[in-house]
């Protein structure tokens, strides 16, 4: 059979393992995006709205961290959570928490960077107006958070898309264990190495669908912001 047709059949027939793997991927991505939300938002607001020494340097570092290769994150985290590493007693290597930790570190700079640039684009007069109106610090922060909600939504969606599609962290820290840490991307890598393209293609199609959906949502968020 044509592998492409075989792939579509796997999706249409609701193949149990394919959808379980897709579920695992979404599960990991959800938690890593969730964990990066609060620190990402806080650091993003800090960089955008407050003046402190070294602010530009921090912003530059964060923006270069968004290009950090996943295998480098995987390598660093691996050396920490291996039983022979400093956090070894947690037993996180080759288990879901290890993957989520690595993916959180992958998502964090993306969230910070997008929140920062998104807020910087907001009209500077907005803050001035608030000050003129006599708004206190807390009030100004609350207004910023309110204004930032679409910026944050699009940042989180971008981060979610990035971690969903990454393979390095999942492979190195999850170990591609069947029914446990096997994700869409590690399955694609495994199946391709075995020369079995049908399931790999079906997961590729699902990944593409997720990416398109996320893109549509990001677009909607950005549009609303304008």
């Amino acid at each position: 059979m044509n592998p492409f047709l075989g792939a579509l059949e796997l999706i249409v027939s609701g193949d149990r393992e394919v959808f379980l793997i897709a579920g695992t991927t979404l599960h990991f991505s959800f938690w890593s995006t969730a964990f990066s939300t609060l620190p990402g938002l806080a650091l993003g607001i800090l960089l955008a709205n407050y003046r402190f020494p070294g602010r530009r340097a921090v912003a530059a570092v964060v923006s270069s961290l968004t290009a950090l290769p996943t295998v480098v994150i995987g390598l660093f985290v691996y050396s920490f959570i291996s039983r022979s590493g400093p956090l070894g007693s947690l037993g996180w290597l080759f288990a879901p928490p290890g993957v989520v930790l690595g993916q959180t570190l992958l998502a964090l700079p993306i969230v910070v960077s997008l929140v920062y640039t998104g807020l910087s684009k907001l009209d500077a007069r907005f803050t001035e107006t608030l000050v003129t109106l006599g708004a206190g610090r807390l009030r100004r922060l609350a207004s910023t958070l309110f204004e930032a909600k679409y910026v944050l939504a699009s940042a989180l969606l971008n981060a979610f898309g990035r971690v969903t599609g990454e393979v390095g962290v999942s492979m190195m820290l999850g170990g591609n264990i069947r029914w446990y840490t096997r994700t869409m991307t590690t399955t694609i890598a495994l199946d391709t190495s075995k020369g079995e393209f049908e399931r790999a293609l079906s997961l590729g199609i699902l990944l593409l669908a997720i990416a398109l959906a996320i893109n549509a949502l990001v677009h909607a968020a950005v549009k609303h912001e304008e």
Partner: protein
């Protein structure tokens, strides 16, 4: 799209994620997860997927298989990142136990290595009298050879044969792939070239290639697999109860029979010492 739709979509994403991985099986043992570091040949041939569910159903353990090369699997055991290892490189296994990294080593099963190559056999290794002679012919013909290059059991065996042949393989004909067995067979198929493979993986992927077995049957190509529990004295965190249970089951009549009865396209892949 309005704000409500955006919130709804985000909520749907969360719900889908939360829904995933909901079910966890009821487990009898105190620590039901066993981490087994093994080679690609046992996992990707389908052997473990065939025998482990029998063990899991019987004992309530859940075996997490991390499939890497033999060298990497032993390293995982050494660092305490696995509870038990199933590998194929006898000298390294003995060194692993001697260094105090592992205990309770057992001979589980065996098959053999084969030399794969293009159907035309350009280096004429089919008539060689030994695996070392076959390798010598490949080198002197300058025929393409794809090496695993990843410290796997197969790579160790390949290097042993080159050493026995008195050849230090280098040059444009010698390609170090750094990939798993299936990938290397498929690469050898694409180039085309020769490669050393374990018979189990070959049987699993042979339908996807036009390669053939150019040389086989030499005693030096024997491929024994051993199972070793990670030393609990060195790594108290290791699931030694689980490792013992798994080794005991694999070495039991039922376990060995399960290995013997695993077939791919009607051919038996692994043999036990009965």
């Amino acid at each position: 799209m309005n704000r409500k739709a955006l919130v709804l979509a985000l909520a749907a994403l969360c719900a889908a994620s939360a829904f995933a991985m909901g079910g966890k099986e009821a487990a009898a043992p105190a620590n039901p997860r066993i981490k087994l570091a093994t080679t690609t040949s046992t996992e990707n041939s389908g052997l473990l997927g065939y025998i482990l569910p029998i063990f899991e159903a019987k004992t309530g353990y859940k075996v997490d298989v991390v499939a890497v090369g033999t060298g990497a699997a032993l390293k995982l055991g050494e660092n305490g990142d696995a509870d038990v290892v199933l590998v194929h490189a006898r000298a390294q296994e003995d060194a692993f136990v001697a260094a105090g990294h592992g205990v309770d080593r057992r001979d589980v099963m065996y098959n053999d290595f084969i030399i794969l190559g293009p159907a035309s056999d350009p280096a004429g290794i089919g008539s060689a009298k030994s695996s070392t002679e076959a390798f010598s012919r490949i080198a002197s013909a300058g025929a393409t050879f794809v090496s695993r290059g990843d410290k796997s059991g197969t790579h160790v065996k390949e290097l042993d044969i080159w050493k026995a042949a008195g050849i230090a393989p280098a040059g444009t004909w010698y390609k170090e792939a750094g990939q798993g067995m299936e990938q290397v067979i498929l690469m050898a198929n694409g180039m085309p070239g020769y490669t050393l493979a374990d018979r189990g993986t070959w049987l699993a992927v042979k339908d996807k290639t036009s390669l053939k077995i150019c040389y086989q049957g030499d005693k030096g190509l024997f491929n024994p697999y051993g199972i070793i529990a990670v030393n609990p004295a060195k790594w108290p965190s290791a699931n030694n109860e689980g490792a013992k249970a798994l080794i005991a089951w694999i070495m039991s009549k039922e376990g060995l029979k399960a290995i013997e009865s695993f077939k791919l396209n009607g051919e038996q892949l692994f043999f036990t010492y009965k």
